[in-house]
């Protein structure tokens, strides 16, 4: 009966306008609706499918500001059993290495975990490095970009898919896996799930609770700094080609000029 921890992150809704705060180039959280990252819905779904087949328990873990409770609630509504929320003012502007360290410490508070499931990359940060960093920090095997996961009592098998092709991996539990878009179709929470979520336990921790000092984290202590940011330039008007018998070759010329063919 596997004990699974799912890493979930709240991100700005891709349907709303997303921008960075002009003062410190961190995410402008006020400007967009915040949602549970879709790739993390898939991570939760995978954990729930394993639980439905084999029993066990699913804990969701997030490092994020106070309103990330909404993302936690969503994961609990889908069917996860409990949650750990690391929330601390001093994490504002935390970079990817700090986030991985905090996650590693927080996972330590979940007793006897067998499997950690993350998304392969988030839709806002798009770092794609947390799962690997975490595995490194915890000294666990990492099986990333999974499109299929199978576990038995002691090991996990993963079908890994990247642009280059597929590989088939196996590792002993406990392990860290990250899932890709094709892993499954996440369920929508039912009203029963929504009501049950209200009664599920959520442990809120500060970094002090995890034995981390505020001087190790936050924007000021990030390994890299954002110096400048600019929105994407608006799309230029399209170019119209009128077919006067030579339309085909004109299109080909254009594609060549754009180095597309």
């Amino acid at each position: 009966m596997p004990n699974i921890v799912v890493l979930v992150k709240q991100v700005p809704d891709t349907y709303s306008e997303r921008k960075l705060a002009s003062a410190d180039h961190t995410l402008d959280r006020a400007s967009a609706d915040a949602v549970l990252d879709e790739i993390n819905e898939r991570a939760v779904e995978e954990a729930l499918q394993i639980k439905e087949a084999q029993g066990g328990e699913v804990t969701v873990l997030t490092v994020g500001p106070e309103r990330a409770t909404d993302a936690i609630r969503k994961a609990l509504s889908m069917g996860a059993d409990k949650a750990v929320h690391v929330s601390d003012e001093s994490l504002h502007g935390a970079d990817i290495i700090q986030t991985a360290k905090v996650l590693a410490k927080a996972i330590g508070t979940v007793e006897g975990y067998d499997l950690i499931i993350a998304g392969n990359e988030s839709t806002d940060g798009v770092g794609g490095a947390i799962p690997a960093m975490l595995a490194e920090l915890l000294g666990l095997p990492q099986l990333t970009h999974a499109r299929k996961v199978e576990i038995d009592g002691t090991s996990v098998k993963v079908e890994r898919e990247t642009d280059a092709g597929r590989t088939f991996l196996e590792a002993a539990l406990p392990a860290v896996i990250s899932v890709g878009e094709k892993i499954n179709d996440p369920r929508y929470p039912s009203f029963k799930g929504i009501m049950a979520a209200k009664k599920k336990p959520v442990t809120t921790l500060t970094i002090a609770d995890l034995g981390i000092d505020a001087s190790e984290v936050g924007l000021a202590n990030a390994a890299s700094q954002v110096l400048e940011s600019a929105p994407k330039p608006p799309r230029a008007a399209g170019q119209q080609i009128t077919d006067e018998g030579d339309g085909g070759s004109k299109i080909a010329e254009y594609l060549v000029s754009q180095k597309l063919i």
Partner: protein, 387 residues
């Protein structure tokens, strides 16, 4: 003073259904609509997320929610598409609810699990080719013959009655006469019963991806135990479920009205004419402001009717008012939205064209606007001289 803030779980449900409508319905429904095809896959997904079980207790396989939860789901679905919304509305309030409310333990056990999970659909046949508003004028008959009912007659415009997953139609039929008045009862007819014929789908102006059919019964024999509720009380029972259904149709209408606002706000920021975005012209802004105002008022009307219903206070008048103002708001908004979209508004590939076609039925189904006005007037004590 009361306020209409939603409970946390109702708000979470609203958001979930909104997401579902946006991600699972919006991208595909246009094609179903154009092909006049019933969207089995979407309905199955709605079933899996528990929408057909919303107002039923967990003891019968439901979600443990209430009728207001169903209304919120209908509003959010109809904001994107009315065919799927009416499929849910009819499946729950006409298909499953009468069986939950009036069924025997055996009937509930036999039918509810699959209806509440959305794996099967039920329908309710009241309207006949000869008349719908005057439902007391039912001509379909059910004659008792030993341990059976023998049903004869025709029903018109019955939603969800002929899909591949339809399991039953509850029909109203005359079962006798008392003191010179027709006795009307409700009888469950399982799909596929010999003598029960389902016609092909009507070609409709709107709701094109929903299933509506004419049904005919020729010496159709069902067991006596298929009587739903009390003999001779079928019509009265049904009237009580109609009051609830009106609140649901009102929610669905508010969704359509809101969908018109959503589409227009987006479109007028993109479309330009005479050197400006059309949304900068006050004539357009005022249309949209009026649309939003009508939607808001209509929403408050159905919230109020639903709140009274859940508090078990009389709500007949409020339900009629909500149905009346929201279906008219939907119709008005659809007309204005189509106008704002110009020629594109008349194209089926734009949602407002679909909204335009879908709005009219809201002023007709589950009691016409005239019937709503009759109910309100009657509730105010206004009588008619010949009665």
């Amino acid at each position: 003073m009361i306020d209409f803030r939603l409970e946390e779980e109702h708000e979470a449900l609203r958001k979930t259904v909104r997401e579902f409508a946006r991600e699972e319905v919006a991208p595909v429904i246009g094609d179903y609509y154009e092909r006049c095809e019933f969207p089995y896959e979407i309905v199955a997904k709605m079933g899996r997320m528990g929408l057909f079980g919303l107002p039923f207790p967990e003891s019968v396989g439901g979600m443990g929610g209430d009728y207001f939860a169903l209304c919120l789901a209908l509003e959010e679905l109809a904001r994107v598409d009315s065919s799927v919304a009416i499929t849910l509305e009819a499946g729950v309030s006409l298909g499953a609810m009468p069986i939950y409310r009036f069924g025997t333990p055996e009937q509930r056990e036999q039918w509810l699990p699959s209806l509440v999970s959305g794996e099967a659909l039920g329908a309710f046949g009241l309207t006949e080719p000869g008349g719908g508003s005057d439902a007391g004028a039912t001509r379909t008959t059910a004659r008792r013959d030993g341990d059976s009912w023998v049903v004869n007659g025709t029903k018109a415009f019955i939603t969800n009655s002929g899909t591949d997953i339809t399991r039953l139609v509850t029909v109203t039929a005359v079962t006798g006469e008392r003191d010179g008045r027709k006795q009307i009862s409700a009888i469950i007819i399982p799909s596929g019963t010999p003598g029960f014929a389902v016609s092909k789908k009507y070609s409709k102006v709107g709701w094109s991806a929903s299933d509506t059919r004419e049904l005919s019964f020729a010496d159709c024999v069902v067991p006596a135990s298929n009587l739903l509720g009390e003999e001779g009380r079928g019509y009265a029972q049904f009237l009580s479920t109609l009051d609830e259904g009106r609140v649901a149709i009102s929610a669905l209408s508010v969704g359509l009205a809101q969908g018109c606002v959503d589409e227009c706000v987006r479109y007028v920021a993109e479309r330009a004419a005479f050197g400006h975005k059309i949304g900068e012209y006050q004539a357009i802004q005022f249309k949209i402001a009026d649309m939003e105002a009508r939607t808001h008022v209509a929403r408050l009307a159905y919230y109020d009717a639903a709140a009274r219903m859940l508090r078990k206070q009389p709500f007949k008048r409020q339900a009629a008012i909500a149905k009346l103002v929201s279906s008219e708001a939907a119709m008005d908004n659809a007309r204005e939205a189509t106008q704002i979209f110009g020629g594109y508004g008349f194209m089926n590939e734009f949602p407002v064209g679909r909204f335009y076609r879908d709005a009219k039925i809201l002023e007709i189904g589950e009691g016409t606007s005239e019937v709503q006005r009759m109910l309100i007037a009657r509730d105010l004590g206004l009588t008619r001289p010949w009665q």
